[in-house]
Symmetry: C2
Amino acid sequence: MKAKFMQRKLLPAIFMLGVAVAAQAEGKRKVIIDDDIGGPRAAQLMAIQSPDVEVLGITIVSGSTWRDENIAHALRTLEVIGRSDIPVIPGSTFPLLNTQETTRRWEALYGKLYYKGAWTDEKWPDGTIQSQPNYHAHDVVPQISEGMPHTKPSAEIAANFMIRKVHEFPGQVTILATGPMTNVALAISLDPSFAATAKEIVYMGGSLNPHQVLPSKSAEQFAREYINSPRLEFNFRWDPEAAKIALRAPWKHIVMVPADPSTATELSKKLLSDMTKADTPLAQLVKKNTETGFPLWDELATAVWLDPTLIRKSDQLHVSIDTDFGAGYGNTLSWPAAYAPPGLIAQVSTVVREVNVPAFEKMMIRLMNLPTPPAPK
Amino acid sequence: MKAKFMQRKLLPAIFMLGVAVAAQAEGKRKVIIDDDIGGPRAAQLMAIQSPDVEVLGITIVSGSTWRDENIAHALRTLEVIGRSDIPVIPGSTFPLLNTQETTRRWEALYGKLYYKGAWTDEKWPDGTIQSQPNYHAHDVVPQISEGMPHTKPSAEIAANFMIRKVHEFPGQVTILATGPMTNVALAISLDPSFAATAKEIVYMGGSLNPHQVLPSKSAEQFAREYINSPRLEFNFRWDPEAAKIALRAPWKHIVMVPADPSTATELSKKLLSDMTKADTPLAQLVKKNTETGFPLWDELATAVWLDPTLIRKSDQLHVSIDTDFGAGYGNTLSWPAAYAPPGLIAQVSTVVREVNVPAFEKMMIRLMNLPTPPAPK
């Protein structure tokens, strides 16, 4: 009887001690951020600002803006916040198969895309209020408002870096992908064990069925795309073949943040102001170099990775992408289990459909106003 | 001065008299209802019940249920309400190009369709509460709950009837299409002047970006389709090629009622009860033979034709359909003018996105409880 009592009382305690020791051994939550946008990026900074997170590196891909420009922004941001210990690793400049010329041909057949990222060479139609992208060649780095960086990117290639890191910390590394999937697809193609060796992938990409939630003029303008092409989202559309490769890989865990939850969010002037009250290099950098009015697409991906309890509504879905060069090129495909085609190679993802927006904003405000954690010794 | 005064006072009066005379000469608003569903159909009956409307005929097509079954229902309904003067004209049994076998192959590649109309040969997945369609061969007419008809359909073919009537009353006939577009496409292919000779087409079909509005279990189940295939709607999907032919024809006026406004509507038990309070053959027939729980897709099309002021929100869009046999086969395509591909052959439609639901329900309740207008002498 006594032995049994001891067992019941002590085993859970011993078990919990084991978990704590393991957690300490594992250390901080490890993440590689794979990103496609220039500027001081809250989506990157929220992870860097989290005391329990170790950003192993920021891998860069083209998409919204060109890789070389994005590298300059990331390097400069890290300099300003005193975290140049975090490597910036150059990834792909171009998508695997898609090209600007192909995109022009597609538009001639199927209509103008709402957004083309670095390929946006024409004026927005219909009086769009968000600023016009600065169209330039892929190897031109324009003068950036934060100032040019003095540090250099890593000599490694993004896909190789990702592969090296997931094998250095097997089962521990999250890939937080907030741009097109080119780098991720290359890592998978280079190393078939890559996806299963990572802990998980959390990505912003794809679109199920978003609709306008907020009453602002910006929200109304972004809704034009949802109404007429609810399945089309830029990250998937820039490199559809890469997204398909990434989505069929044998990840242990996939969290998809499609366009859908973002329509309840907006980087308003008020939110930017609240996020940048601190007299820290980071807050002041963000304050001076951030355009308001955008939905918080990528920040949501970082946020639900940092705290999954922000997710209010999610579905378990098989997700893939249309890669036929027809009207639906780049469109998200999704199926609940009972509707999926037999033999489909597309993992089940947790698809985030709604988040707790007040809690999300509170998280952003808290993290962005923190002193930046120092580089680990 | 006096002459001028007379002119100002009398000319408007003379003009209004002219309009009244013209209206009398034109008589009632003329409509051909092209429909694909069996049962006493409020979508048809609302037009028949409107004192200012002349239903020239009900042309029948397959879709939700097979043509021959639909003919029996339409004939029987007209018998019960004493309006067998309205001809029921048989149209196409099969889509132009699509087949059940093709649909099975498509599902093997791209996933199970949420609804297949007369081809729905498997049980609904996921505990769907709406009743299972009665799957049977196209030339079998099952015993119908209203009783079998004693009258016969017209010996004419639907497309020929449509062509004949629009030329008999040029510029006056509305085509109210609440099923797949097979009959309409055949009329266009047989007679290139058909579309421009009609007054307009008002149709239920296609889907832009619908989302769940009502909290009911039925609404939640219908939303599964919107979330995972917001661009797919059954009428378009049954005969995509016919829809494409219909949408590029040179109509003078097109009103599209996609799935979108229907999500704010539901034939609840309460609404059915309110619609069928009258002790008339029509109300009692509808009361006894109508399943509740469905969005009011087709009734909306009839309603916004009867009273366009029910439309709360609409867009002017070019509308077409994806006819490539890929993942997007049958998907609605739509573009605001600034985004349409150059040289696109797809007319601008008034796309109904939201209706005034209380006013719509009031209209249904009023019309369905009226005594049925007698046959014209």
